[in-house]
Symmetry: C2
Subunit: 170 residues, 2 copies
DNA sequence: TTCTGACATGTCAAAACTAGAAGGTCCAGC
DNA sequence: GCTGGACCTTCTAGTTTTGACATGTCAGAA
């Protein structure tokens, strides 16, 4: 159900086409809320049918530019203030940890070493991204920076944890 | 697709019924890989049909106790060693952060304060859980302890981040 | 004896998500 | 002029997940 709110959120910043939104999902939202093209177009159609967004303009190549409607903005605000976020931590990575006991200790350590490497890479990618962006003090910059900082801290935490964990085995 | 591996993993520890497994999903796996009753029973039937698990015993009230078969153990090991975990970070909590700009600063800070509280609670719950368990040095203890430590560190990280983030607004 | 709550499984419809095919337009550079 | 790549949408067919309904057994308390 959060996909519709993600779309409303992006459209609250500025009007955009399905294609534009897809690009946003492939870049800034990729690690937070991945969504495929078919999902996005389907949901946009539903949102438009429900009057939460409107087709503000039509461009070349059948491009439809959607804009958020008052009802959509109200729904977005409602979601942000009235509904509780659920800690939806379905994590493939951590699930595996529970079952490392079926492997030999060196295999288990290899898995954790892989996590260290993954975390290092993730951290480095975000660091480069942060460097490449010209941060202002508008809303997008402030909250984008906060989200990115989360990613940096998360990867650092996971790296240290995986290193510690490898030391716990045998 | 990880649900089947979660089931295989749990059955690799000891035989269990669907009901037993459901309890495990509601407790230790709840934060890592939530699954509903219908999903569990459906998947168990499929796994049994595929010969990855067997019905080892039948008890009162139609209870069927499943045990992992050789093929299931092989599949579990294959999953752990040969397939890459995907960073499946779909996060409701973080998604909201991107759109806090549509709220008033005090509302945004309230959201982050809520995350601080959530993280403190999560940390406390895990701390109590860790205290209540009599840790040995068997596999289950070692890897259970490692997974739990992840939770502790994660909540601590998120708490500090949310406090820092609240200070970034305005 | 009756009732309650834990034990135990099965099935279904709907929603969400995945993966990809299919079709078409516009523009810049060769 | 033509061609490749970016732009842009729609549709299909499948799997996974959610949430609820339906059904029944057993042990112990009232």
């Amino acid at each position: 159900m959060s996909l519709r709110h993600a779309l409303l959120g992006l459209l609250s910043e500025r009007p955009a086409s399905g294609y534009d939104l897809l690009k946003r999902f492939e870049t800034s939202l990729a690690t937070v809320w991945p969504a495929t093209q078919s999902q996005i177009y389907t949901e946009l159609t539903k949102l438009a049918a429900g009057g939460l967004i409107t087709v503000a303009a039509e461009g070349p190549r059948g491009r439809k530019e959607y804009a958020i409607a008052d009802g959509g903005l109200a729904e977005l605000r409602h979601w942000l203030t009235e509904t509780k976020p659920q800690r939806n931590t379905r994590s493939d990575i951590l699930l595996r940890v529970f079952f490392l006991g079926v492997l030999k200790p060196e295999q288990a350590r290899a898995y954790l070493a892989g996590l260290v490497e993954m975390s290092e890479q993730g951290h480095e990618e975000l660091r480069l991204l942060a460097e490449s962006i010209d941060w202002g003090d508008d809303d997008l910059s402030v909250y984008g920076r906060i989200a990115l900082e989360y990613g940096l801290r998360f990867n650092a935490m996971r790296r240290e944890w995986a290193e510690w964990a490898a030391g716990q085995i045998r």
